[in-house]
Symmetry: C3
Subunit: 353 residues, 3 copies
């Protein structure tokens, strides 16, 4: 008996809605040194071909010390650290906002993550509530490399517990891009090696790009990816439990879909080499193993960057679909259970001017 009681205290059952308080700061466990091994796995999982991240020589030519890690590898690892504390008991990941990528991350760097609770609102059913957190990923020098807000719907442990004072943060619709990525020597940017002649000036607001290719996702692939990120969310791994769950099967981690869409976008956005910020990300429908992911992008805005004449920013909405080629640029049609749009990712990408 005692063993059982003690065990309950040893195992981390994560936080419920009433465990969060406004202003609370959470240090997430398991700092992580990222290496060339992680980057190789990222390539094997997504087939990404952006030259700056693929070639130390290309990166050095334009002024980087070496190839940085893929931005979404960094995002997914930092996100993964927040899961055991923030969203293990979440019913739904409701949204992202104000995601900014601040500094390049290189093999050998160590990432750690912290979050602050910036909003709380109990739902009218008294059973759940929405928690808003701003999470930051830092490197071993204590410099923030990434910051983002997300909000999740979390169960209450005890439905009778009193609700907190509701506070919903005001969030920017479009993130302030304030990149400290290295300055690029654009004269040294080799457009043959990068895979496309198109730079900042070649894209037009309103332009739509079908990324053409489709890639089928296997159970082993999304599980390998999600574990690489040390993301412990249970719906991705446990077929025994999911058989009795909402979908009857394991759900592919949303970050895996984002990374797939980004890799597919190379065909049409080859020089859009860094993600500077994510304004919003919405998983419109679930993805399961066996589904084939396609993607298309729309250029919704363009912006020069303050104090940078080397690169500009493209404001892009990339939509990923499931079992639906994108030659007709599909948008969400309100039937999530049918093949259709599964992701809308609204972000800023850097591209040489």
């Amino acid at each position: 008996m005692m063993g059982i009681r003690v065990a309950m205290t040893k195992t981390n059952a994560s936080n419920f809605f009433e465990d969060f308080s406004l202003g609370q700061k959470i240090v997430h466990a398991t700092p992580r040194t990222v290496t060339a091994g992680d980057q190789a796995l990222h390539t094997a999982l997504y087939g990404s071909r952006f030259a700056v991240q693929s070639s130390d020589e290309f990166a050095k030519a334009i002024g980087y010390p070496r190839s940085p890690l893929d931005d979404l590898l960094v995002f997914n690892i930092v996100f993964g650290k927040t899961v055991p504390d923030i969203s293990l008991n979440a019913i739904a990941n409701l949204g992202y906002a104000e995601c900014v990528f601040l500094k390049a991350v290189y093999p050998g760097d160590t990432l750690s993550a912290q979050s602050e609770v910036i909003g709380l609102k109990e739902n009218s059913n008294g059973k759940t509530g929405t928690v808003y957190v701003r999470s930051r990923g830092a490197n071993q020098h204590g410099e923030d490399v990434l910051s983002f807000v997300r909000w999740v719907m979390v169960r209450k442990r005890d439905e009778k517990s009193a609700p907190p004072v509701a506070h919903v943060p005001e969030l920017l619709k479009v993130a302030n891009v304030k990149t400290e990525f290295p300055r690029v020597d654009t004269a040294k940017w080799n457009f043959e090696l990068s895979g496309s002649p198109d730079g900042f000036d070649d894209y037009v607001i309103g332009e739509k790009i079908d990324h053409l290719d489709g890639v089928t996702v296997e159970e082993a692939e999304h599980q390998l990816a999600t574990r690489l990120y040390q993301n412990t969310a249970r719906v991705h791994f446990n077929q025994f439990a999911e058989v009795s769950g909402r979908f009857g099967r394991r759900l592919v981690y949303g970050g895996h879909v984002i990374s797939l869409a980004r890799a597919l976008s190379f065909n049409g956005l080859a020089n859009a080499f860094h993600i500077a910020g994510i304004n919003a990300g919405r998983h419109a429908a679930p993805l399961f193993a066996g589904g084939t992911v396609f993607a298309w992008s729309e250029i919704v805005d363009k912006a020069p960057l303050p104090e940078r004449d080397d690169v500009g920013a493209l404001h892009i909405v990339t939509r990923a679909t499931r079992d639906l080629p994108c030659s007709k640029f599909p948008t969400e049609d309100g039937t999530p259970e049918k093949p259709g749009v599964i992701l809308e990712l609204d972000y800023w990408a850097l591209i040489p001017r």
Copy 2:
């Protein structure tokens, strides 16, 4: 004809029971440099989150030169080297004992393996026999990093060959832990970053811990793992042959189950950062792809370590199950073909005092 004859001598068909002799020493092929790439794959395969192995910064803070490789990655690689000589013709892996982890292994180290035959006993059927070997893994400096005994049932090539003098070694029920892992500066151990506040003094003999999560194993995953270890045992890879085999399908390598159970045990044993020794390991039932692995642990003993006041040792029995959550702490029930306990691993883990 000649081609065939010569070919028979070129191909290594491994050893049969009568090929082994007491005191025989075997140098195993294919030394292996382990790298950050192997560690990244280990993370992707198991999702392990122990901070010392995950973060160079955490490791350096407590006195290590950098993150050591996961102990079971080292074990599985050394074990894999022994397979072509010891167990390729084995009918069964019968047991392990006296496994001790001696020195930390770092990316860049090169592992090699040797074995000594320490016991032989022909079975009464005259068709098979048990071979006991002590295998050692060494680094590039010739220092042993790992040593373990295992015994396997091996076929005789010729049933008429005379049996050897039977010799069954006496083996310790509990391995002598004699770690030379680096000394830990426990004042620098950050219990927020490590994922749990619980150290040596917080665990109680008799305590049981349900590790909660379940993870479903895919064919691609266990094959990738077993090949990473350069383990050539045929039952893991060859569906064409296994269709006509005992189970009708490929068998998941037992070391894969051990590594999964260890990774799951983070939730409840987050600070138990090194395996110091394995007293016994028993694969109570097979695992196949599609099965979901759960685990729970029992603290069966605690011990201070001679000449070390920085860390103590927890004597743990971790049981892994197949398609059976562990909230009721299941033990083996004698029905291996039903869902149930598939692994009992009796080991010592180091934890800060």
Copy 3:
């Protein structure tokens, strides 16, 4: 409307037959720094055990600065770079010739690729044509590490376009081996650690070797491999499209089969540590996930190497089969839809004298 038009110009739809011209030089996109992470994935995907590539210590003992990357990892990465420009619209990969491996590639090297069109011949149907290219892979010092010829059948964009002057290059049946791999100190070659006592003098022309083992291929595995090579050929990834395709399912990349066969060949050719050249490679039948690959090799010639008394070259034909063990050394039987030979690889391997 405009968006669609612009999009068509952004997306790379690759080249059609009339886009190629004799003598044309093509710089392929996405240079690639290869790392220990790639080598770890290569091990996990194929289980390769050649000691020189597995152990820095073994490699240093014989005179290498460290372990070189596996030759076929280099080949597959360079090949992958050529796909978006050469064979994305290919109906068939018809053959390889004159493949020579020139210099060892080490973790940290950056590979880039260029091709020259050396032959063109429109087919009599007026719909397709054969394009011959010589592709070269270079390291960051501008030194060629690999060169090979391949020819592919490519669709015409416009069937009415005029055919080019036909030119079919004369190709050597047997590649000129001219390796610049490091010289080997054969006295330091440890035949226990390498896994076999057999060197150059032990092999006999006409000798046949059954490599014994079989390995079943999973969808996740060949997709991970093909993406690791940044190979974008669509038939390997898109189940949604392939359901309506020729085979009704995804096709395993031919280079994956070559790498599997090479890894299997360790059992019988353990000291044949480098591929010096590939004379011809033919994919006799497709491989799909779920198939089990076996292999056997025939020694068809032996040759000393000019100016090298340390290593000799074995001229080998390795055949890989699908769901067919190789104890009877099967050759192609003209029934590609049945289990049978799927690959004939004619190559030179280096082995210590």
